[in-house]
Assembly symmetry: C2
């Protein structure tokens, strides 16, 4: 069942204006991506260690997540209707596939992870729509190269152009029309004939002869991402770090080497982002919301003290039935994400005096949540800060422990049995972070381990320093 507007390549071009219009008129938009996998190396839990720094997390995701394909992109636009006091939404679900468009175009290789594919298969994901009917795309460099190719062809054509301007009566001259331009020329001829016949028309708009139509087709879905970027609208996502990374990587440029550059690029592509998972995990919502997974969040936000938002789909757009659970279709997830944002934003209005029922996407009240991306499973850094340096929590109660790969969590509990409650964050087979309840115990633990042979303990600070040294070397 198609539950939201799903343009396939055949209708994509015709419907692009519909998409542009939806973006332009909106107050904010929500996005969501589905990928062919998450990690090509460590398990997902090893990829998200509780004591990752934002830089480490970025590096791990860049290294282990970017060879997968973002193959479904959900976009949901929301526009507030002040007279009716409700939002009008338009939801789009794009299937994406790097179909090679000619012999010299890039032949993209991407990785699939069986568990992710199996997960999507169980949700009823339609792989044929991706692989048979996915919309192609180019990143900026590929677009530039293709544009150059077309420009070159055109200037070659113009160069041999002494033959180029003949009157229609001279059609018997041996002008050879390149195969790839025949269609274009036929169209122009038709339009001119039309003009000559039709006395009402006074002028004629001709497309520039640059192969620009093929170029546009090849740029494909990237045009939607460009439109989102250029709109400067607030873009909402739920737990959206991977979505943002994939979107930039696939449609703009390979991800930069370090986090600070990534922040710069992101601020160009998405000048204003808001992560509903981060919002829901922050005051004043944190106290009221136990489970911030998208489905649970949506349920919670329908109940007091929150209220379900008034949202209707625009005329001509199919409507979602939130009860029938289309979760994990990107367009639907984007829609739900938007609903969650509206409920939470409106809730902030209740603190005003007089209280307000509607808080717009432009309100100062939501600015504190801008450009902070939720950091999954990190214990003491809630978000990646896109607008400046990241938080640097003291980790003076944390130890880094190395040991033989036969060890189990119970061995660690035993090792630290003298120190009361501990918390273990596995890094890999042979190392883990162990946090003690009291920082004072850290030095004692390190000291007592000095002569141990099977394991090694160092403080978090020592670990960071050593890692830094290794990087310099």
């Amino acid at each position: 069942m198609e539950v939201c507007f799903t343009p396939l390549p055949a209708d994509f071009k015709d419907n692009l204006n519909k998409v542009y219009e939806a973006i332009e008129e909106s107050d904010f938009l929500a996005i969501d991506g589905e990928f062919s996998g998450i990690s090509d190396g460590p398990s997902v839990s090893a990829l998200t260690n509780g004591f990752d720094t934002p830089e480490e997390r970025y590096q791990k995701l860049k290294k282990h997540s970017m060879d997968f394909l973002l193959f479904q992109f959900g976009l949901c636009t929301f526009k507030y209707d002040h007279t009716e006091e409700k939002y009008i939404m338009k939801s789009f679900n794009f299937y994406i596939f790097p179909k090679p468009f000619n012999r010299s175009s890039p032949d993209v290789k991407f990785v699939c992870q069986s568990s992710s594919i199996d997960f999507l298969a169980n949700q009823g994901f339609d792989f044929n729509k991706v692989f048979r009917n996915g919309i192609p795309y180019l990143n900026q460099e590929e677009e530039r190269q293709l544009r150059e190719q077309y420009d070159e062809k055109r200037s070659q054509a113009n160069g041999a152009g002494s033959l180029a301007y003949f009157s229609p009566n001279a059609t018997k001259c041996p002008v050879t029309i390149p195969e790839d331009q025949k269609k274009f020329i036929e169209k122009v001829v038709e339009q001119i004939e039309d003009l000559l016949k039709n006395e009402e028309k006074e002028s004629l708009e001709l497309e520039p002869c640059t192969g620009s139509e093929e170029l546009n087709d090849a740029v494909g879905f990237s045009r939607v991402v460009h439109a989102i970027a250029n709109s400067g609208k607030l873009v909402i996502g739920h737990n959206m770090l991977l979505d943002v990374m994939h979107t930039i990587h696939q449609f703009y440029c390979p991800l930069p080497d370090d986090l600070s550059e990534f922040k710069e690029v992101t601020s160009c592509v998405f000048p204003r982002l808001l992560d509903t998972k981060l919002m829901a995990s922050t005051q004043p919502f944190k106290e009221l919301i136990n489970n911030t997974s998208l489905a649970e969040l949506e349920k919670r936000l329908k109940e007091v003290p929150f209220s379900p938002p008034k949202v209707e789909s625009a005329e001509g757009f199919p409507s979602y039935d939130t009860a029938s659970e289309q979760l994990h279709e990107a367009g639907y997830d984007a829609y739900i994400t938007g609903l969650c944002f509206i409920s939470m934003a409106n809730f902030l209005g209740s603190f005003l005096s007089p209280p307000k029922n509607h808080v717009s996407a432009r309100s100062e009240l939501i600015e504190p949540f801008f450009n902070k991306l939720f950091l999954m499973r990190v214990m003491d850094i809630p978000y990646l800060n896109l607008e400046g340096p990241d938080l640097q929590p003291k980790r003076d109660h944390v130890l880094h422990v190395t040991f033989p790969k036969e060890w189990k969590t119970s061995d660690l509990y035993q090792l630290f049995s003298a120190f009361g409650n501990i918390q273990v964050s596995w890094i890999d087979d042979t190392s883990a972070f162990v946090s003690l309840s009291q920082p004072e115990q850290v030095q004692i633990a390190v000291n007592t381990s000095r002569y141990a042979e099977s394991y090694r303990i160092q403080t978090y600070a020592e670990y960071v320093e050593k890692k830094h040294e290794e990087k310099q070397a």
Copy 2:
């Protein structure tokens, strides 16, 4: 449209005996695989250089082709009916996918190549059948590990087994049945109840309680490959090197490091192979057949001096209509491959005196074609010899040339313009093999190049030696 028998996981188990039977009764079988891609590095043409040695070709395919998934496997069995003087065939088309079967099972990552996926999409390939309904598999090591896990569980269960033997009346004892064995136990109970009620039955065959049912499910499609291997039947394929490599890699073990070990493994898994593309490229067929691509070959072999074979599908099996072109469905390709083999084998019978219309898969006449796999695009080595050392053609008319990456084929023609006809085989951007028409010219070319700065020429022998030295170092 389903054109051949396509067992999905749900019916796979029930139909396995059908597959086993088809293999066992057959005179020979034909196989074919479809993959998610061909090369994750060099272009396909760079992967198949005209002067590759069999060892080099093996190494390149191992390095650049094995991360793709063999996701459709076609099997077609042929049994000769002597009284009716025709073959009875049974065709199977298996979709294959490494669905993880539990939390500790391998989470396979595989690569997709857009051009290959697009090619299959254009043939109407059904990706949903792969990803939603593909049959799982394990290689031998994974099967061994899983078996160990089950054995361990069982011996643990038996260890705590003082509680294990209670009479049916004692069912109120707190025996905890592990979740994963409930189904098995329920089944046994049912069978016993059946036995007690039914006075005709005298004995009861119980499955061993080893989790063997789950194990079998997990081994999945590998059981079909084992059955093919164990049957010792002649296995036919068309241009089958990649099929053989993938089959071994995916269902047996990671490919060995060098070609001679690969030949050993192959002789265990497929003791008798025959490649119809190699057969068609060899005397006496070579002179009669221009185009050895599968579709063209099949057409050619319907015409004099060949004759189309008499083949019917077995009762209960759907029949293929060769006119309606189901090419590139693995089951259909396997079927066509079988037809080609029969026509060519029968043609050999015409040389006997008296001539024979039917030549069986066991005839001495076809032995010369056994265990030789076609080497695509190699100019002077027709096949990879699985039964011993490979042919070593003299390449004393061949030069290895290195040059700046701006060079085009025309630059090479110019460089060698003094030497008459040359042939260029590109290796990569900056090197190529150039074969001269006369070996005597080789030394002249090398000598005249001695002081050249932009390019370097060496003889093929020098190139091989240098490569060998690099490998040793």
